[in-house]
Symmetry: C2
Subunit: 433 residues, 2 copies
């Protein structure tokens, strides 16, 4: 029995490792198109920044580790160019054929270049692979650029802006939509703008870049450009082989992470998952989800019976030390999903006054009809991750605002105010009915 | 229509303020036996430490504020000495009678002196009221004690030990039970002991103090003693008047915080609440619960219809910068409650490696039969509050370990590792079946 996994980063290796745990005798082969496996892609901006000194520091496991410790064969530089499910076979660029009984597709995603012209110039970068970051780091050292334009104010975009600014560059972030962080929430955009501007980074929203000219982008002079316009799932090859895609364009799966082809699973940045707040399929490529769906895909590919319930869309990004965290739906997103949203936003403190807690802004969104929480956001210099996780847990558990208001959260002066901003937000929200 | 509230700290003032919000015309009188109201009792150890400079900094509102801004009459120095429900009347020490239509009992608790002899010496302190802390602070300044014994290794005990140590005293903590922090968990006790000892504080468990001799306690020489042996609810007076008590000795209430006497409510440190994990009444006096139950009691006393679902027993304490947080039941407590507990404990990191995250220990306890989470603990220099709150939310929502394992928690390198220790603990726990 042979399990083949396409992709050797987060989802693929989680799948392979989990499959091995369930079935010690399964033959497992991981095919990775790049030169290295198992790197922390979310750490790439910190390699650019210089906080992470060497690319190797982001590599968690080597192919040797998997071979020796897990009896998993990992082939790097092994790009799959076609798949023939009727023969249970994938073909590599080298022409080699690899047979499978079970297949896990963890083909990942690539940067969406948004149809922008001129992206193949040497001063234009994406920040998606370890090579991308290494190349960018080398460019910073050798070409000493002074002005950068970052296209896209999503997570990677603002992290790249932060990293470049800390390297002394003047940075302008251009965002096509009216809002930053993929969240149609003007208040969050305002807060992002404030933090960026405090640190000398300019944010311009509503700017659609069509081409990168040699010395400027959308009128902004620059000698370096970072493309951070989002991701596209790598699905063309498998779609040709008959793997069904969902409406998002990513691979549709069951809650066992199985595709329409029996025995073929998908996980990570190439796959859709269920959004637990809406109940619909969604495409939100993130490392945490890649790891979780990889585990489930690997378990089921090895004969287990696990299911992945879904996500609630939680994410956090640090911009110059402030955490911006969101989960579930914003008011606008909730409305677009057919809910009738009610929201409250409060500004509180992260600790008791005499422990110099920083300001924390919490927003909660609930459904007018059912009183169920639909989403929330937390912005703060400390405690943002812990607080968004409470909201995320509440969304996963389908709590109402009334249940949320009475959560038994921890209190002691070094850690929180006696009324946590989360609970104050819930009180305010309950007053909106 | 007159609402009388006995007690002017957390629960009493929450009740009064909430009642006023619901009924602008209600006559509201708060009777507080002490000289001040509305102080942050949880801040008292920080007043002893010196981080909080003056007692006034812990006072949130004054009687004048309530009179002017809320139209609530607050009388300080107004000790109630009896209650006659048939006449809807309480009698003050001064002999004055106060009529009520509705009554909220927020009589609080007092330090349990555990029958120890010699507690009335001038070098013996409790740490429960603003006067206690002020007196202790004055004693530190004037008598310059050099060795302190703290009796009790609960929250107040370890906070007092921390505060005294930071004032340069040698400190020994004596605890009657085998474990610290009211948690029968030897691993937590070990961690508490390690942090205390690293900072020069000795912890001796299993030491039952019977008397305080002038220069020593249980053989330990000292010139200062802090009694921190837990709390007893102040219920004698109201019990005489026919208010029913629960098995814990605190006031029994409905989920509307109403006692057996119609129109008489109880809230805060004098009242039982429901433990949502066991479903039974429990007595865990904490400031957060006091505020929440006070709000519900006040709302219902003003004609509202709110309910307090209950608590899950969440708490956190900082000892020399490390957070010790617990919620729900320990393995031993779960067993005593009739569950068949399964537990896993993991040591992880609070952030990505290159963000120098500190160590974080997470324990999860679940029920073998239902797979429902029953409790957990988190120990760490950062993130302990946020992580225990996720477990607390999961307990409140009755999540199983399987649901918990798939929580969509926030990840970015400055905030968490890609596999949060919470999720690793859940994975480990699932392997125990």
């Amino acid at each position: 029995m042979a399990l083949v996994v396409i992709g050797g980063v987060a989802a693929g290796l989680s799948a392979a490792a989990r499959a091995r745990r369930l079935d010690p005798r399964l033959e497992i082969v991981v095919l990775e198109k790049g030169p290295v496996i198992s790197y922390g892609a979310c750490g790439l901006p910190y390699l650019v920044e210089g906080r992470v000194r060497r690319p190797e520091e982001l590599i968690v496991y080597t192919p040797e580790y998997f071979r020796k410790e897990r009896h998993i064969e990992v082939r790097t530089g092994a790009r799959v160019v076609s798949m023939a499910h009727s023969r249970r076979e994938v073909v590599l660029e080298s022409g080699a054929r690899v047979r499978y009984d079970r297949l896990v597709l963890a083909t990942g995603a690539r940067c969406d270049t948004l149809g922008i012209a001129g992206t193949d110039q040497p001063h234009v970068f994406t920040l998606h692979t370890l090579e991308d970051a290494t190349r960018m780091r080398r460019f910073l050292a050798e070409s000493r650029p002074r002005r950068a334009v970052v296209i896209g104010a999503g997570y990677i975009g603002v992290e790249a802006a932060d990293a470049l600014r800390r390297n002394g560059l003047r940075v302008t972030v251009l965002e096509r939509s009216p809002n930053a962080l993929l969240r149609d929430d003007p208040q969050i955009t305002l807060a992002v703008r404030r933090v960026l501007e405090e640190h000398g980074v300019e944010l311009r929203c509503g700017v659609a870049v069509e081409s990168i000219e040699p010395g400027r982008v959308a009128g902004v002079p620059c000698d370096m450009v970072v493309l951070a316009g989002g991701f596209k799932p790598n699905v063309e090859l498998v779609a040709e082989a008959g793997v069904e895609l969902g409406r998002s364009g990513a691979i549709r799966t069951s809650d066992r992470m199985e595709t329409n082809l029996p025995g073929v699973y998908a996980a990570g940045d190439c796959a859709e998952v269920t959004h637990l707040v809406s109940g619909s399929a969604t495409y939100i490529p993130l490392g945490t989800t890649a790891n979780k769906t990889g585990r489930v895909a690997g378990a089921n590919a090895a004969g287990g019976r696990e299911r992945f319930a879904g996500i609630v869309g939680t994410s956090i990004v640090g911009i110059f030390g402030t955490g911006f965290a969101t989960t579930g739906f914003s008011t606008e997103q909730a409305r677009a999903q057919g809910f009738s949203p009610v929201a409250a936003r409060v500004e509180g403190h992260s600790r008791a006054r005499y422990f110099q807690g920083g300001k924390t802004t919490v927003e909660l969104v609930a459904d007018r009809a059912t009183r169920r929480l639909l989403g929330g956001s937390v912005i703060g210099e400390e405690g943002a991750a812990g607080r968004i996780n409470v909201i995320a847990t509440a969304l996963g558990a389908r709590l109402t605002v009334d249940e949320f208001e009475q959560l038994d959260l921890a209190y002691a002066p070094p850690f929180a105010p006696v009324w946590d901003p989360l609970l104050i937000a819930a009180q305010q929200l309950r007053n909106r009915w």
